[in-house]
Amino acid sequence: MADQQTHGGHGAHEHAHPTWSTYWKVATILTLITVVEVWIYYIPAFVATKLFVPSLLIMSAVKFVIVVMFYMHLKYDHKLFRVLFTGPLIIAGATMIVLLFLFGQLFF
């Protein structure tokens, strides 16, 4: 990033702003995914399959990622922030998985 003459760096300095239409699209997708999530929750036949939990996990991961990428504009921001966020996230995720394994809860 170009040196900025102010110490405050006032005005977040992004490469490109997501536009408001992006915001609304994202909101729509989030809503849709949530609807699907709740919907499959109410399909006993699907809940019984092995796909239920993985599909929920994937859907929630997708929601997670798009909020972070677009609303928290990590996609458009300095890559430093991406490092600051993903590093801890990886440690956190790994810790959770190992803990669940150790307590015998790693099956769904």
Binding site: G87, P88, I91, A94, T95, L99, F101, L102, F103
Partner: protein, 615 residues
């Protein structure tokens, strides 16, 4: 510090440090905050050491009766807690404060008031924790406070309440400091100070801040569960409700193992500054030193259960954690050999700082190797919870962290105060420490292998333990002498000979500015062109009179008392909760609400006041 104002070298300039208590209470200057950390932590070191000496007197002979069993349990709990949270961590913080801005060519940390806040929280938290002695209820659950021993059912006294509230308070301090230094290092580097030119101390500190901000939330939550269990009747650790007592152990050690690297990496950083200077050679393999530090920290999050090999996690988990633990030996070994090869071919001057630094290399290796022995689960079943472990961690903590910190103290005292410490007393200090520490902790290996469990108030006669314990106790007496000499040296050196900007011929930026540095640090922000600016970057040491910030037109943050009060209200808010177990729940709630309100108001007032005057 205050003596700087009268130092002849500076008296002809217009520059003078503000003096008086008020200037210390309101300071936002990172160097002064560093000094506060240093002197506070050294005070706790004397107290933690006193506790250790009482432990050793009790164990001098079999079936000792110097203190009671309950007192003994409080002593080792407070000794461990004090040394870890009130001594080594804040001593490291003292150096973070003093050095990071100087080493990267900054005028202060990113958030000077937050920095003051961290210190005051630490001070009040440490006082709170030790106030437990005054009411006769010092924490007694061991420094890792295993549940269910620390639940209300088995520990109904205030002891554990002091401990868990105290640690929560201290956690706030560390977290705040962590965010502050991460930001400082990322964002306040002088032009040309690229990451791969940063002094290793700053690098290791950088890594430590990440460990802090990622490890402390975990213990905070573990403590919150414990607190809720004790105060509000939740069941996180209630076996009767089906809770697994191991939950605490896992959460604690997920924090606890990164914590031990929090304790050692700053010391590694300090010796990485000292060794090159006194060998007159650059650090051997700088990039590898950086990467190994990062790797140690990263791996450090994946080894925690090596503290739990005896709980029966099963062979797969044991194998997993054994292997990750052993892996850490590799990057650490690289560091050790790189230090040795920094000295190799050098021109070694045995100053006191250098002696302590070399001692770290030698003694940490011993502790590291015994660490690898614990990493083997079947063998660890014969080691865990014995004095063999006590030997390990004192070699890494005293032989490592403490030796490194003393090296740092001798090395940076001139920068902090402008005065040189006595090398003669320093030599005494070093040799007494070195002999004393080995005499104390080496025999513990045998005591452990001969079946002496740790945390035992007494051991029986006739089991072959007498001689090792007696040796340890004499060793501790040597360490008391060492401590006295060291403290005396610190005290009397405040009137020592002037140091000048760079008494050691050291290579890094902090040595280019006057000692002690003026409040703005750098009259002109340097442009860095080399890893060792003073050696091969053409950076010159400051000469001539020191101007004031005003003369130079440098904007300085205003002193403020607000962080102190926020810290105070916060501590009192936590402290109020103690009343719950005194049957004064109403008062406790009132206290929490009052102090939380005061804290919030004070915080708003702080945040709405600009750091500096408008220009």
């Amino acid at each position: 510090m205050a003596t700087a104002a009268t130092a002849p070298a500076h008296s002809h300039s217009g520059y003078s440090e503000p003096t008086g208590i008020w200037s210390w209470l309101t300071t936002v200057d990172h160097k002064r905050i560093g000094a506060l950390y240093l002197y506070t932590a050294l005070t706790w070191f004397a107290i933690g050491g006193l506790e250790a000496v009482m432990i050793r007197i009790q164990l001098m002979g079999p079936n000792g009766r110097f203190v009671t069993a309950d007192t003994y349990n409080q002593l080792f709990t407070m000794h461990g807690t004090t040394m870890v949270f009130l001594v080594i961590m804040p001593l490291s913080a003292a150096f973070f404060n003093l050095l990071i801005p100087l080493q990267i060519g900054a005028r202060d940390v990113a958030f000077p008031r937050l920095n003051a806040f961290s210190y005051w929280v630490y001070l009040f938290g440490s006082i709170f924790m030790n106030a437990s002695w005054l009411v006769g209820a010092a924490p007694d659950g061991g420094w890792f406070g295993y549940t269910p021993l620390t639940t209300y059912q088995y520990g109904p006294g205030l002891n554990i309440d002091f401990w868990l509230l105290g640690l929560q308070i201290l956690g706030v301090s560390s977290l705040a400091a962590g965010f502050n230094f991460i930001t400082t290092i990322i964002n306040m580097r002088a032009p040309g100070m690229t990451f791969m030119r940063m002094p290793i101390f700053t690098w290791m500190s950088f890594v430590v801040q990440f460990l802090l901000v990622l490890a402390f939330p975990v213990i905070t939550i573990a403590l919150v569960f414990l607190q809720f269990d004790r105060f509000f009747g939740t069941q996180f650790y209630e076996a009767a409700a089906g809770a697994d007592p191991l939950l605490w152990q896992h959460l604690f050690w997920i924090f606890g193992h990164p914590e031990v690297y929090i304790l050692i990496l700053p010391a590694f950083g300090l010796v990485s500054e000292v060794l090159p200077t006194f060998s007159r050679k650059p650090l051997f393999g700088y990039p590898v030193m950086v990467y190994s530090g990062i790797l140690i920290a990263f791996l450090g999050f994946g080894v925690w259960a090596h503290h739990m090999f005896a709980v029966g996690m099963g062979p797969i988990a044991d194998t997993l954690f054994a292997l990750t633990t052993m892996l850490i030996g590799i990057p650490t070994g690289v560091k050790i050999f790189n230090w040795i090869f920094t000295m190799w071919g050098g021109d070694i001057r045995f100053t006191t700082a250098m002696k302590f630094a070399i001692a770290l290399v030698g003694l940490f290796t011993i502790g590291g190797i015994s660490g690898v022995m614990h990493a083997s689960p079947p063998a660890d079943l014969q080691q865990t919870d014995t004095y063999f472990i006590v030997a390990h961690f004192h070699y890494v903590l005293f032989g490592g962290s403490m030796m490194g910190i003393w090296a740092g103290v001798y090395y940076y005292y001139p920068k902090l105060t402008g005065k040189l410490m006595s090398e003669k007393l320093g030599s005494w200090h070093f040799w007494l420490s070195f002999i004393g520490m080995n005499l104390t902790f080496m025999p513990m290996h045998w005591a452990g292998l001969l079946g002496m469990p740790r945390r035992t108030w007494v051991y029986d006669a006739g089991q072959g333990l007498e001689i090792w314990n007696l040796m340890s106790t004499y060793g501790a007496f040597f360490q008391v002498l060492a401590g006295l000499v060291g403290f005396w040296n610190l005290w009397r050196s405040r009137k020592g000979p002037d140091a000048g900007p760079n008494p050691w011929g050291a290579p890094t930026l902090e040595w280019s500015i006057p000692s002690p540095p003026p409040d703005y640090n750098f009259a002109v922000i340097p442009t860095v062109t080399a890893r060792y600016p003073m050696w091969d970057g053409g950076q010159k040491a400051h000469e001539g009179p020191i101007k004031t910030a005003k003369e130079l037109g440098i904007p300085m943050p205003n002193p403020t008392i607000k962080p102190l009060f926020v810290a105070l209200w916060m501590t009192l808010m936590f402290a109020s909760m103690l009343l719950i177990h005194k049957g004064m729940t109403g008062l406790a709630i009132a206290g929490v609400i009052t102090f939380a309100t005061l804290m919030t108001l004070q915080l708003y007032s702080w945040l709405l006041t600009p750091l500096e005057d408008e220009h």
